[in-house]
Structures are given as structure tokens and as C-alpha cells.
């Protein structure tokens, strides 16, 4: 590997110490504030702060972390964690269950810290440390899906430090005290270095001594940096990556973009004709998902299925038979049959007219700031046009896009949703009627305002279950809703971006060994990855 | 070192010309050049006051700047010689010129407002002239500056003044003071008074004349105001369209102008005191120097034009004390009537 020979000696780090550089367009300079509540904190979760349980979003597998185990009460209204003993905060104080209880109760006292609305939406009732190693969560209502947020996405903070902080929101935390494998070495707005926590509770780990995490506001400089072989671990869209990056060192440079969610066309069913499921189905048949994926995304984001199940990540959850039956894919004939059934007619120019004889015209709002989305929508409108539907692309400024999206002021909207360790999280985000607000009022989920009692019942049912097979059954029923009702049209799958160079570090997560989400911006996964990496011995 | 305070170290031979201009030709531009000075020959003796008059645009300033070697492109000296106190001015390089500039001859420009650097004080401008030529202690420079300002009637307070703080007349006098910092042999003055009021004009001229008589420098003085020069100059040169058409002692020229142009010029002067009589001007307009008329340049306007005038340029004719460029006085001229 000659292409990356120049980088190893850089930086004057002490002999033998291994430094890993992360190249990720984080979008802002670092503030050197490592307060985990601050929206612009450095990347701390996973490296400095840790969760109770590591939940792998790609496999759904759980791994004991700061908790060695947990137990649901039979009525699912009580959850008890056993915390790990022998774990020390980096200032030497021991970690106990009290820290866990403190962390959750702080969010109860302060709305601003309640990141997952666990208190705000009436999920949790109380959190108490039973003893030094046991902490008990009492629920107001059953919500098994909250487990992911409680165990996997809440970073446990040291009570002895945070209880002295006056306003946790405004605290500028330069030297955070955590349990994680790393502490903050140095920080400037342009780069943060993480150094190894030598007293980390997982003995012998981490093996990477130092992590350099520069701040890239934009993809281009990050790509350039990566291309020069200065980075070991990339985390953004790299155009033409095979040519641009991999080709220069095929042996070491690998990328893996596991799908974790979908990018959708939201359909505002409040608009004329769009309330008709035949029209929505027609729209879905008019989407050339393959072309969007290949032309706008270099194929990096694979085409989605109408069931909205990212594959292969969640292939167990997919009702393949149902998907095949509907056979959503670019199919002008089906578009025509569905639309004609709904009373539409085809004009002499090949474009459809509404039942009252007017041209059928829609617009699609899009965030003009996302280059890949703009490209995708360009392909989309062309594909709609081919199928006989006029769709005008509105590439709006980010704010305007967000405003229209959250207030439901659109015909179609190109949009994404947030995902979790099972497809349920995303389906709920998109379909749950409780999130739907009347047009004109803000919402941050279910933008297309799908409201269907049967769907809502399914979503609630899942939330009471802990058995995976039962859950799959519910999700398959939700898939049926997607396929038949087409509330939204999944276009491409969204992926985690990750480029990995094994010249200096090996044991990266791979398709075969998906021990964590490989994206350097995924938390806490990136910490898990760092713990698994092995420096190459020189 | 020749300064005002030191006595003259040489007694120049008064008959030896100080400045000897021979057949000087100056043109502006490359294609279709304007021949602004054409075959001008002129001698100036030490201590002499020579006036040059002529209409606006006839080449007076160009002649002066050519002599002082201050022309800048597109003007250039095409041919001719200028001998100044033994220096062949036309051939000297800038570096060779520098030492004699200002020490041996100085120049008073047409417009003092523009000729004084607006951002330097009068004192600074006097000083840098001195510093350029000799090493003088600051105190002595200051003393000399005050001295020359007093000579021209300006309060030395104004050493620290900037040009815009002085009135037009004061600026002109400051220029003259500057020209006197060394005691040059020759001062070239280009319409130093034309921007001034008649009252100020007269005072200034008187002062110049007095200084000249005191220090004995020669003055070449350009104006288009005939009456001004009539009072102060020893000899008078009249220019027309780039050429010297008549040269002679001032009184002589005023009394017996020979060249028809000079005659016309003098005839067009209403008098302030004499009897009121109707005057006639010279019809026509000065020629375009880019396309001068054939033959004599004055020929299209000349009341006494002859055939030969339309063909041949007239020679520079010789009289006892005067020179005239006119066929009327040429050797092969038809019998010409002596004017008056």
C-alpha cells in the first residue's frame, strides 16, 4: 500500500502509538464542549459516555454494557437493570446504579434533557436505584419499544459531577468524565483528539491509542482528505467511490453501506385525489426506484420496497410474498389501470387528466440543500413524466422545506424518517396516527398525516410485546398497510455511510461480521467499533 | 556654491549668449504629428528679459518645456540644438540634467495651483529643491527659505502653509521664490500671471523685474498678453503657429512692427488712455498645426499676401536688430514698402 505511506508518520505522535483519523463531514466546527445534552457536542457517546445495553441496530442484537442484564416484569410495567460493578469513572470514582437513576431523574426534572420524551409523553413513572447495582424503571404505560431508548440511547452520567452542575443545558464541558474507552485529549474547533482510557473496564481495550476527529463542514474537503489517504475511517457520501478512493488501494480500502431506513415520497392524502388509494398505488407504480438509485445515488442507496423494510438488514421482517404479489416497480401499464379505475383519462400528449378533465399536476417539495436529494428528485420527476404524471419539483430552502413539511403543506414531499433496531420504529414514525396533526399545525413525524385506526392499533400492539416472532407478525401486518394503502412511497433505502481503510487498523465491521453500525457518526456504535479495531503491527 | 547670499563668483561676458536655441523642432504624437515648435531659433543673453508672446496654442509653452527638457510623451524634440551655458541641453540625459536643473535654470509654471504639490508644505517644497542639490544644514535651509519668501513679499510664516491655504497671487509668488532658491542664471516663466487679477498681476511683474535687476538673471517670459510684456521685457519675440515670426527690442517692435501678424496684433489693442478709435482685428483663425497651410503659415489671414507666400515658407529675415519671418522682407522680395 504505497498510496497511504505518507500518512503514518504524520503528527509527531509518540513512537508506537496508533492514531486513527476519522473523516466525516460533521457539518460544523467543534465547540470543544462535550456536554452530551448539547446539540453541538463533540462525538462523545460511545467513546466517552456509554449506554446500559448496546443495541445493534443492524441486527437487533443486544449486548450487556454498563448493565450486565435486565428483566421485564410480567406485566411489562417494570424494568430492572443490574449494573456492572468494577466500572470506574475516569476521575477514579466508581460507577453505580445511582448514577443511572440520577441520569434519568435529571431528565424528569428538566424537560430539556428529556431527549426521548420518556417523561414528557407519559412513558416512565419512576426510576429508582434499589441498591448500588440495581436500578428499577416503573412505567406508566406499557412501552416495550422504549427499551431501545432507555437501555441503548441514553448515556449514563456521573452523579457526583453532574449534580454540581448548575444548568446542565448550558454547561460547557471541556473535560468530560465518563466510563467510556476514551477521554478527550486535545480540542480545537478544527479537530478533536480522543485518547485511550487506560483504566477502561473492558480489560486490554481499546487498542487504538488515539483518535483524531477533524471537523469537516462539507463533504468535499472530507472526501479530499480521505482520497489522500489521510483518513482511516470515512463516513459520508463519496461519489464514484470505486474510482475515486477504492481503486487507489484495492487491498485495504473497503466500504460498506448497510441500509437502515428509507427515503420516501410522502403523499398528502388531504389533497384532492390523493385520498384515493388507487391514485397512490398508481404513483408508486410510476416511481422508477432502480433509476433513482443508480442515476442519483451511484447505486449506493439500493432501491426500496413498498413494504418499507430495509434489506438485507431486516430481511427476516419482510413479507416477501406480499411484496412480490403487488410487484411495485416502474410499470406504466399498472399506473394507467389504477388511474383509469379512479376515473382519470389519458390525454393525447400521454399525460393523465383528472376525472373532471383537468391536467393532473402535482408538485413535490424537496430540501434544495441536499444535493443527492435534488438529483434524486430530478430522476423522479422524469420517471413520473414517463408514466404520464406531471410532477413539478420544488427545491426549497431548508427552512421553507421544513416548514411546509411539518405543517403538511405539500402534495408530495421527498423526506426521510428515523429508524431503530427493528423496522417498527420507522413504520411508527411514518404511520402512527397519534403523531398526525391537522394541516397547518407543526408535527415532526407522520408528515403525510396518515390516520387509520387499524394501523394505530397495530402500532400499539407491538409496543406491548417483547417476543421477536410476535413482533414480526405485527410488522408484517403493517407492511400490508403499506402495500395496499400506500400512505407513503419508499424510494430508496437510506444507508449508513462508512469507508474503512485497513492499512493501519483491522477488524472493521463487515457485512459478514456486522458487530456494529460501521458509520463513524453512529452512536454508540462508533465506540463499539473503536473497541474492536486492531492496529496493524509494524 | 552660488546662493543669494554669496556674491557672484563670475562676471559673465555680457555678449556671450546664455541660451542659444537653434532650429528647434518639437512635435506631439506619432502619426499626423502636431508640429508645435517649428524651426525656432533664439538667443538670450545674461541678464536679459525676453518676452515671448503669441496666441494661445501657438507653441509657447512647448518651446519653454523643450528648452528646459521637461517635455513628456507624446511630445518630443525632433531636431535642433539648445545650448545653455555650454550645455547641449538636447543631448543631456536625465542624470546629467539633474545637477544643472534649478541651480542654473529654474522654471515658473503656468499655473501655480497645479505646479505646487498639494500635499507638501511650501517649506518642504523649498527644502527638497535645496536638498536635491547640496547638503545644507536644516537651519541654513530654513534661513534661506525665509529669505526667498521675503524677497517675493510673503511672510515666512507661510513656510508651514500648504498650497491651498494661499491665495492665487501668493502661490505664484511662492513659485517665484522657489525659483530663486539658488540664484540661477536663467528663469523660465510660463504665463506666471495669467490666472491673476490685473492688480495682483502688476505687483508680481514689478517684483520680478526688481529681482531681476538686483540679481541679474536672465528671464524668458511667456504670455499672450501683449500689454504686459510691453512694460517689462527688453526684447520681444512674437510667435505664430509654432514659428517665431518676429524678434526684436521691445520698443522697436512696438514702434515698428514688421510682420503683418505683429502689425495686426498691435492694431487690435484698444487703448485705455488714448483716443477712442475703431480697431480691426485679423480675420480668420489660427491654423490647425496638424495640417499647416502651405508656404507662409500666416498667409491665409495675411492682408499683404503675395503669390510667393502661398508657395514657399518665408525665410527668417535679418534686419539690424530684428528678425522677421516674412517674404516682404526677404532678399528676393519684391520691392517692399517699409512699414510706416
Amino acid at each position: 500500500a504505497t498510496a497511504c505511506g505518507g500518512q503514518s508518520g504524520e503528527g509527531g505522535s509518540s513512537a508506537g502509538a496508533s492514531t486513527l483519523s476519522v473523516v466525516n463531514a460533521s457539518g460544523a466546527l467543534w465547540t470543544c464542549n462535550f456536554n452530551p445534552y448539547a446539540p453541538a457536542s463533540g462525538q462523545t457517546a460511545g467513546a466517552v459516555w456509554e449506554p446500559l445495553i448496546y443495541v445493534n441496530t443492524l441486527t437487533g442484537k443486544e449486548k450487556p454494557w454498563l448493565a450486565t442484564g435486565y428483566k421485564w416484569s410480567p406485566d411489562r410495567k417494570e424494568l430492572t437493570f443490574t449494573t456492572r460493578s468494577g466500572v470506574k469513572w475516569t476521575d477514579g470514582k466508581p460507577f453505580t446504579a445511582k448514577d443511572v437513576a440520577y441520569t434519568f431523574n435529571a431528565a424528569k426534572a428538566n424537560d430539556a434533557l428529556d431527549s426521548y420524551a420518556l417523561w414528557g409523553e407519559g412513558v416512565l413513572d419512576s426510576v429508582t436505584a434499589v441498591n448500588d447495582t440495581t436500578v428499577r424503571f416503573r412505567f406508566k404505560r406499557v412501552s416495550t419499544s422504549s427499551f431501545y431508548y432507555i437501555a441503548g440511547q441514553t448515556w449514563i452520567l456521573p452523579e457526583h459531577v453532574w449534580s454540581k452542575v448548575k444548568d446542565p443545558v448550558k454547561e460547557m464541558m471541556r473535560k468530560p468524565v465518563g466510563t467510556g474507552p476514551y477521554t478527550i485529549g486535545s480540542c480545537t474547533p478544527q479537530a478533536v483528539t480522543y485518547t485511550k482510557n487506560t483504566k477502561y473496564w473492558q480489560k486490554g481495550k481499546p487498542k487504538v491509542d488515539k483518535v483524531l476527529y477533524p471537523a469537516f463542514v462539507d463533504n468535499q474537503p472530507a472526501n479530499r482528505y480521505l482520497a489522500q489517504g489521510k483518513g482511516d475511517w470515512g463516513g459520508q457520501f463519496v461519489p464514484n467511490i470505486d474510482n475515486y478512493w477504492v481503486a487507489k488501494d484495492k487491498a485495504h480500502r473497503k466500504y460498506w453501506y448497510p441500509p437502515s431506513g428509507n427515503v420516501y415520497i410522502g403523499i398528502n392524502s388531504a389533497k384532492p385525489y390523493l385520498g384515493d388509494k388507487r391514485v397512490r398505488q398508481a404513483l408508486s407504480y410510476a416511481v422508477d426506484r432502480d433509476k433513482v438509485s443508480s442515476d442519483a445515488m451511484y447505486g449506493y442507496q439500493p432501491p426500496a420496497n413498498q413494504a418499507a423494510i430495509p434489506t438485507p438488514t431486516f430481511k427476516d421482517w419482510l413479507d416477501q410474498a406480499a411484496v412480490s404479489k403487488y410487484a411495485y416497480g416502474f410499470d406504466p401499464a399498472k399506473v394507467a389501470s389504477r388511474l383509469q379505475a379512479a376515473g382519470f383519462t389519458k390525454g393525447p400528449d400521454g399525460m393523465f387528466k383528472t376525472p373532471d378533465g383537468k391536467p393532473f399536476k402535482l408538485s413535490i417539495i424537496n430540501n434544495g440543500g441536499f444535493t443527492d436529494w435534488v438529483a434524486a428528485v430530478q430522476v423522479l420527476t422524469a420517471s413520473f413524466k414517463k408514466a404520464g404524471i406531471t410532477v413539478e419539483a420544488l427545491n426549497l430552502n431548508g427552512n421553507e422545506y421544513n416548514r411546509r413539511l411539518s405543517q403538511g403543506q405539500f402534495d408530495l414531499a421527498y423526506m426521510s424518517a428515523s429508524s431503530g433496531p427493528t423496522p417498527y420504529y420507522e413504520l411508527r414514525d411514518v404511520l402512527y396516527g397519534a403523531y398526525a396533526k391537522p394541516v397547518g399545525q407543526d408535527t415532526s413525524r407522520n408528515y403525510e398525516r396518515w390516520k387509520d385506526d387499524a394501523t394505530d392499533a397495530l402500532i400499539r400492539k407491538y409496543d406491548t410485546m417483547t417476543d421477536k416472532q410476535a413482533q414480526i407478525g405485527v410488522v408484517k401486518q403493517l407492511e400490508q398497510v403499506m402495500l395496499e394503502q400506500v400512505p407513503v412511497i419508499p424510494v430508496t433505502q437510506s444507508v449508513s455511510w462508512s469507508q474503512m481503510d485497513s492499512t493501519r487498523f483491522t477488524n472493521w465491521p463487515t457485512k459478514q461480521n456486522p458487530y456494529a453500525n460501521p458509520a463513524p457518526y453512529a452512536a454508540p456504535d462508533w465506540g463499539v467499533v473503536l473497541l474492536n479495531l486492531e492496529p496493524v503491527q509494524k | 556654491m552660488r546662493t543669494l547670499s554669496s556674491s557672484p563668483d563670475t562676471t559673465p561676458d555680457p555678449r556671450q549668449p546664455l541660451l542659444d536655441i537653434t532650429d528647434l523642432v518639437v512635435e506631439y504624437g506619432m502619426h499626423e504629428p502636431v508640429r508645435a515648435v517649428d524651426q525656432v531659433s533664439l538667443r538670450v543673453r545674461r541678464g536679459e528679459f525676453v518676452g515671448i508672446v503669441g496666441e494661445s496654442g501657438c507653441g509657447k509653452s512647448t518651446l519653454l518645456y523643450a528648452v528646459a527638457r521637461l517635455l513628456s510623451p507624446p511630445a518630443r524634440i525632433v531636431s535642433g540644438q539648445v545650448d545653455f551655458a555650454g550645455h547641449q541641453m538636447v543631448r543631456l540625459t536625465e542624470d546629467e540634467l539633474r545637477p544643472i536643473r534649478w541651480r542654473d535654470y529654474s522654471v515658473v509654471m503656468q499655473s501655480a495651483m497645479n505646479a505646487l504639490n498639494p500635499v507638501l508644505s511650501i517649506g518642504a517644497q523649498l527644502r527638497d529643491a535645496m536638498a536635491a542639490h547640496e547638503r545644507v544644514p536644516a537651519a541654513q535651509m530654513r534661513q534661506r527659505s525665509e529669505e526667498v519668501l521675503r524677497l517675493v513679499g510673503i511672510d515666512p510664516i507661510h513656510l508651514t502653509s500648504y498650497p491651498h491655504q494661499l491665495s492665487g497671487g501668493m502661490r505664484q509668488r511662492a513659485m517665484i521664490a522657489m525659483a530663486l532658491v539658488f540664484r540661477p542664471d536663467l528663469i523660465i516663466m510660463d504665463e506666471p500671471t495669467s490666472a491673476l487679477d490685473v492688480v495682483a498681476q502688476r505687483s508680481l511683474m514689478r517684483r520680478v523685474k526688481a529681482l531681476q535687476e538686483e540679481f541679474g538673471f536672465a528671464v524668458v517670459f511667456v504670455t499672450h498678453d501683449m500689454s504686459l510684456v510691453s512694460h517689462y521685457s527688453d526684447r520681444l519675440a512674437i510667435m505664430y503657429a509654432g514659428q517665431l515670426v518676429e524678434l526684436g527690442p521691445t520698443r522697436e517692435v512696438f514702434a515698428h512692427a514688421r510682420h503683418p501678424y505683429s502689425v495686426g496684433l498691435l492694431g487690435a489693442f484698444p487703448s485705455l488712455r488714448g483716443e477712442r478709435r475703431e480697431l480691426t482685428g485679423i480675420p480668420g483663425a489660427p491654423p490647425d498645426l496638424r495640417h499647416p497651410p502651405r508656404g507662409c503659415r500666416f498667409q491665409p489671414r495675411c492682408p499683404k499676401v503675395m503669390d510667393i507666400c502661398r508657395e514657399d515658407p518665408p525665410p527668417y529675415q535679418v534686419g539690424a536688430t530684428e528678425l522677421v519671418r516674412c517674404h516682404l522682407y526677404g532678399p528676393g522680395a519684391p520691392e517692399h514698402q517699409e512699414p510706416r
Binding site: 504524520e10 424537560d111 478544527q190 469537516f216 427552512n399 437510506s494 | 513628456s72 509654471m109 505646479a115 529643491a129
Partner: protein, 328 residues
């Protein structure tokens, strides 16, 4: 002295206008920063987090505009612009104060360099009219001046940073070195990182100064006082400096002052292209991140800097040009 009063009036009114525009502009724009933030975080923030963020950023209070305006003035006088939204909870003042040295160092130095070099070259070109310099510089810099400088930046970056990796391809210093400290090594690193963007800025902006200086200088050289200086037999160096250049520079001073004031925002695109952590970079971020407080403070800073530079230029002109003094 009426002149002074007029200047004061200008400064006060301009400052007021700038503050008011700063206040109004972001408020006239629809949209909301949290969604921007959520978008930037690539879905790391779930929808349910929205409320907590609103509370955190204090965006859930809705005062009437005039009240906001008044308290905004209070902030301006206290130099307290609150917390940045992008960099919450870091204060705007601290975010900006970190960026400013980089910009001042890069853009400030290059602006001055471009002015000094350009003015010198322009003066020399005019002085040696028709010489090699004079026939080569103007046409070359007319063309160079019209080049889109982000494009030049990209090309430079590609050629000197990527093809022949002579120069670093981003950042203000060698980030692998960790914390910045004051020693020769760090300084030389900083200089080497600034070299490429600096070259681009100087190249694309020097032309303007060369051309204006050359043109004014040519005008000045035909003035009688320059001729007079020659007549006085002054050495040419002195004529060029004391007589020609000094007078020719005067009309360019205000322009220079304004460009100095714009230093802070001026090389925005260059900073962006070169990932240079200066104020311009920050501004683009503030704009795209809908970071009102940061945007406002930056705007104000830029305007104030311009005003102050103009004030200084006024003072310098006052010193250099006696004509501006004498008049009552």
C-alpha cells in the same frame, strides 16, 4: 466643526441601520433552526427530541418584535449576543472570537499584502510607462481579476494539494499535532496552511489595486507638480514617492479601508473552499444553520469593522492630505 458632525451623523445612522437590518433580516425569514439542526444530524435526533431542543434553545418564548428589538440593542451595547444555536450552548462571542484570528491572519494579511503589492506594482508600471511591466500587467490582471476565485481556489487545491501534494488541502494548521501552542513549528505550519488560500486571494484581488493605482498614477504624473519636481532636479525616487505615489494613493485609501472592513466577510468562498476555519466559513454555516444570533453578530461585526476602517482611512487621509484640513 461641521465636517466632524457630518461624519458622526454618518456613523451613527449607518450603525443604526446596520443593527436594525441585522435584527430584522433573520426574523423576516421563515423556518426554524431546530429542523435545520435535525437535518444536519442525519436523523440522529428523533422527532420526539424536538420539544426538548426548543426548551433548551429558548425558542419556545414569543416576545413581541419591538421588545426583542429593544433587548437586542441592549445586547449590542453589552457585546452579548447570547448563545449560538449551531454551537449551543457556546456563546456567540466565544465562537466568533475563535474564528477571528484565523480570518484576520489570512484575509487581513493578504488584503494588506495585495494592496501594498498592487499599489507598488501599479505605481511602478505607471512610472515606467510602456515598459515591460506596464504592457504585461494590465491585460493579465484584467483577465485574472475576472476569474471566479472559488474556481481558482479549487484548481489550486487540486493541482498543488492533490496532484503534486505540496500544500495542505485544508484546515488552518496541522490538526494531527493536537493542541495549538506557540512555537516556531506551529507558526510555520500555520503559515504553510495559509499559503495556498493566501495566494489565491492575493492573485485575484491584486489586479484591481494595480489597475486603479496605475490609472490614478498616470493621471498624477501628468500633473504640473510632477513636472515641477523634475524641473527642480529632484532624484526620481523622490519624485515617484513624495510627489506621484503619495498623491495617487490618496483617492484609493477609502477603497482600501472598505476592503479592510470587508476582510471579515470578504474571502468567504475561499475559506469555504479551503476549509479554513475563519469567519466567512462561520457565516455560511450560520446562514445555512439558521443561527440567528451568530448571523447577527457576524453582520454587526463586519459592518462595525468597515465603519471603523473608514474612520481610520478618514483619519489617515486627514493626516496625509492637508487639503482636507484647512477648510473651515
Amino acid at each position: 466643526m461641521p465636517r466632524l458632525i457630518r461624519r458622526l451623523e454618518f456613523f451613527v445612522v449607518t450603525f443604526w441601520a446596520a443593527v436594525s437590518i441585522n435584527f430584522l433580516l433573520p426574523r423576516m425569514m421563515p423556518g426554524d433552526p431546530i429542523q435545520q439542526m435535525m437535518a444536519r444530524m442525519k436523523g440522529q435526533i428523533t422527532g420526539s427530541r424536538r420539544h426538548s431542543l426548543e426548551v433548551m434553545l429558548g425558542l419556545n418564548t414569543h416576545e413581541p418584535l419591538w421588545k426583542q428589538y429593544i433587548s437586542y440593542w441592549g445586547q449590542v451595547f453589552r457585546f452579548d449576543f447570547g448563545s449560538s444555536i449551531t454551537y449551543f450552548p457556546d456563546s456567540v462571542t466565544s465562537v466568533i472570537s475563535i474564528a477571528i484570528p484565523w480570518t484576520l491572519g489570512l484575509v487581513g494579511v493578504t488584503t494588506i499584502l495585495a494592496f501594498v503589492l498592487g499599489t507598488l506594482l501599479g505605481a511602478v508600471a505607471a512610472w515606467r510607462r510602456g515598459g515591460v511591466l506596464d504592457s504585461v500587467l494590465p491585460p493579465v490582471f484584467i483577465v485574472v481579476g475576472a476569474l471566479p476565485f472559488f474556481w481558482v481556489g479549487l484548481l489550486f487545491l487540486y493541482v498543488f494539494g492533490v496532484l503534486l501534494p505540496w500544500a495542505p488541502i485544508g484546515f488552518g494548521y496541522d490538526i494531527t499535532a493536537g493542541q495549538l501552542s506557540f512555537n516556531w513549528q506551529t507558526i510555520s505550519q500555520i503559515v504553510s496552511h495559509a499559503l495556498l488560500p493566501a495566494t489565491v486571494i492575493v492573485l485575484t484581488s491584486i489586479g484591481g489595486w494595480i489597475l486603479t493605482m496605475r490609472n490614478t498614477m498616470i493621471g498624477v504624473l501628468s500633473e504640473d507638480y510632477v513636472k515641477m519636481a523634475r524641473a527642480k532636479g529632484l532624484p526620481s525616487g523622490r519624485i515617484m514617492l513624495q510627489y506621484a505615489s503619495r498623491n495617487a494613493i490618496l483617492p484609493n485609501l477609502t477603497g482600501f479601508a472598505m476592503s479592510l472592513g470587508f476582510v471579515i466577510s470578504g474571502a468567504l468562498l475561499v475559506e469555504l473552499v479551503f476549509t479554513y476555519p475563519g469567519v466567512g466559513y462561520l457565516l455560511v454555516q450560520a446562514v445555512t444553520g439558521q443561527d440567528y444570533p451568530l448571523m447577527q453578530a457576524l453582520f454587526l461585526l463586519i459592518t462595525a469593522a468597515t465603519l471603523v476602517s473608514v474612520l481610520i482611512a478618514d483619519a489617515v487621509t486627514y493626516v496625509l492630505d492637508p487639503r482636507t484640513r484647512g477648510r473651515a
